[in-house]
């Protein structure tokens, strides 16, 4: 293993922020795994740190395939990690909407450009990320549909779901989109947690990444075969919105099987304590995403369901 400083930013009153890459094996730039660009993505950073630890062991046991090189960037936006904000700097820029970046642009664009120039030639790119909205999702691989995406490769992670998302204008500035445009097979990996470490789902994510790297002939690692992924389009997820605001009491959990008409959550009047609304499942399915905060507004997304097809 060797560590590399990919980008360093100096500021007058803080120590330098340095984006670090950890390299394993030698040879062709095979896979790059990159952690959070938002300062609250602690789970993603944790997974990357565990990956660095595991790859270091594998490397010392000679289990990185010859001619293959892997890089892990555990965190991009460490400055924001230390102050508990998602976005970078006084301007509050989202680094994940600055790609491919500009070497002579704003600070955030310069960070994105430095990182992107370093990672754009890898064959496989795996980004650990989370939803912008607060909530939990079933672990899955997500990819933007832009003509280059390869969902059959995404199956090799062995996670329960692969979601293909139609690119909106705002997506064209994300890392995933730009990686794919550079012919890197890019995957975004989501777990059920973001700000807090969830050891269980972190293990699942770590196993999925190691499984993928094994199947692509990059490392030698004994792993069980995982799930046979269910590939779905984001537009096919059933959105369940609230009809009113209040205190959100969740009953249905992420990953849970539910039937049409099941009570999934209650919205409690924050003054009087009575139930203002009972959210009923609009279809048979599996809970793919669930709102996780205790307060919710009218129209907010409470759940996404994967509609179950009957045999």
């Amino acid at each position: 293993m060797f560590a590399e400083d990919i980008y360093t930013l100096s500021t007058p009153y803080r120590e330098d922020m340095s984006v670090k890459g950890y390299h394993f094996g030698k040879g062709e730039q095979s896979a790059c795994i990159i952690g959070p660009m938002r300062g609250k993505g602690v789970q993603q950073m944790y997974i990357c740190s565990q990956l660095v630890k595991t790859l270091k062991e594998l490397e010392s046991n000679g289990c990185i395939c010859s001619g293959r090189e892997v890089m892990v960037i555990p965190v991009v936006n460490s400055y924001s990690m230390n102050i508990g904000t998602n976005f970078f700097g006084v301007e509050g820029e989202d680094i994940n909407s600055q790609f491919p970046g500009r070497t002579y642009g704003d600070t955030a664009e310069q960070i994105a450009a430095a990182v992107f120039n370093r990672i754009k030639d890898y064959s496989f790119g795996i980004q650990l990320t989370a939803f912008h909205m607060t909530g939990e999702s079933v672990p899955h691989i997500r990819m933007v549909e832009n003509g280059y995406q390869n969902s059959s490769l995404a199956n090799l992670f062995g996670l329960p779901f692969v979601v293909v998302k139609k690119a909106k204008p705002i997506d064209t500035k994300t890392l995933n989109y730009n990686w794919q445009s550079m012919q890197t097979a890019a995957f975004s990996l989501y777990t059920d947690s973001n700000e807090k470490v969830s050891v269980k789902s972190a293990k699942q994510a770590l196993a999925a990444i190691l499984r993928f790297l094994t199947r692509m002939g990059i490392i030698r690692y004994e792993s069980h075969s995982g799930y046979i992924s269910h590939v779905l389009k984001e537009k096919d997820l059933t959105a369940v919105h609230t009809m009113c605001g209040g205190i959100f009491r969740r009953k249905a959990k992420v990953g849970q099987d539910i039937r049409y008409g099941d009570a999934m959550a209650e919205i409690i009047d924050p003054y009087r304590g009575n139930t203002k609304e009972t959210i009923l499942a609009p279809t048979d399915g599996i809970v793919f995403f669930a709102h996780s905060e205790s307060l919710i507004a009218e129209g907010d997304l409470a759940y996404y369901l994967v509609h179950r097809l009957h045999e």
Partner: protein, 316 residues
């Protein structure tokens, strides 16, 4: 008359309410046109507050001069404005990346969709922004290239200092202006001043420009007297000056002044060492139309923008 455009429940004892003031003239229906003035998509931009005030005040004072309808929407992101948050509080999302919205989507997608629906059918829409907290701007209209041909004929009457075509920030497809222009409602984006502040003279200048445009459209009967015509520019004529190190920026010039090549624009100092880290010098002649106000800078921070190659369009 103040009307509610849209209302949606927040979690605790409050609705989020979008309001507008519909001003109907007593000067006859004339061509019956409708013009909308919107502001406050970004909660830290307050220059539009004064523009709205001036518009409503002056129309109420002389309703007989108006023969059409003016709708004034002073706060499209009302919770953001209340706490000086550029984004939508809690969601931490830029509302001007959510248009045209979705009436079956999440709360704010519904808000965005309701705004678009309410603005549909206007003959013209003016979206008043201010700069952010970091840099000060002269009054200008920003156009994206896609619609510039059509919009320039409106923008030139707006009494602004400059029209900037294809400024990267307004090119974005998910902005209100883009959504409205795509629907065939000509929409101008005005930028001026500084975030979290009101510059009254800029506000009056732009209000005067809007009255001038209303006059040109035939729904305001009095032509404002002292209208200036803007400099036209494209990205190629704008020189960006960015910090190439971190520190504290101290400007050496005034905003909205001309500089010559070699003139000092400012310096980046390091207080702990008591020294000047960098001297910032103009590389071309031109008008400093953007100047940094917020002193702390990191590498890449925008310090100034200079409009070079100025062709003034006079004698209009």
């Amino acid at each position: 008359m103040v009307k509610t455009v849209f209302s949606i429940g927040l979690s605790t004892g409050e609705n989020l309410v979008i309001k507008k003031n519909r001003l109907e003239g007593t000067g006859g229906h004339g061509k019956g046109k409708k013009v909308a003035i919107v502001t406050g998509i970004h909660g830290d931009e307050l220059e539009g507050q004064y523009v709205c005030y001036e518009m409503v005040r002056r129309i109420k004072e002389r309703p007989e001069l108006l023969n059409g309808v003016v709708d004034v929407y002073p706060a499209l992101n009302p919770v953001g404005i209340t706490v000086a948050n550029r984004m939508i509080p809690k969601l931490d999302m830029d509302m001007n990346r959510m248009f045209p919205g979705d009436e079956n989507g999440t709360s704010f997608e519904r808000v965005a969709a309701a705004i678009v629906q309410d603005l549909a059918g206007a003959d013209l829409c003016i979206d008043v922004h201010a700069s952010n907290r970091f840099v000060k701007e002269i009054p200008q209209v920003r156009l994206c290239e896609e619609f510039s041909e059509k919009l320039i004929s409106y923008a030139r009457h707006m009494n602004v200092d400059m029209i900037w075509t294809n400024a990267t920030e307004t090119v974005h497809e998910a902005t209100l202006a883009h959504a409205m222009n795509s629907m065939g409602v000509p929409t101008l984006v005005v930028e001026m001043g500084l975030g979290m502040r009101v510059n009254r003279s800029y506000g009056r200048q732009v209000a005067e420009g809007i009255f001038n445009l209303l006059y040109e459209l035939g729904i305001w009967k009095e032509r404002p007297k002292h209208i200036q015509y803007p400099v036209l520019s494209t990205d190629g004529e704008v020189e960006f000056i960015r910090a190439d190190c971190s520190g504290v920026f101290i400007p050496a010039i005034e905003h909205s002044h001309f500089v010559k090549k070699g003139d000092k624009i400012g310096e980046i100092i390091t207080p702990v060492e008591g020294k000047v880290e960098r001297e910032i010098v103009a590389k071309k002649d031109g008008l400093v139309f953007t100047l940094r106000e917020y002193p702390m800078v990191s590498k890449g921070a925008l310090l100034a923008r200079i409009l070079t190659d100025i062709k003034t369009k006079e004698g209009e």
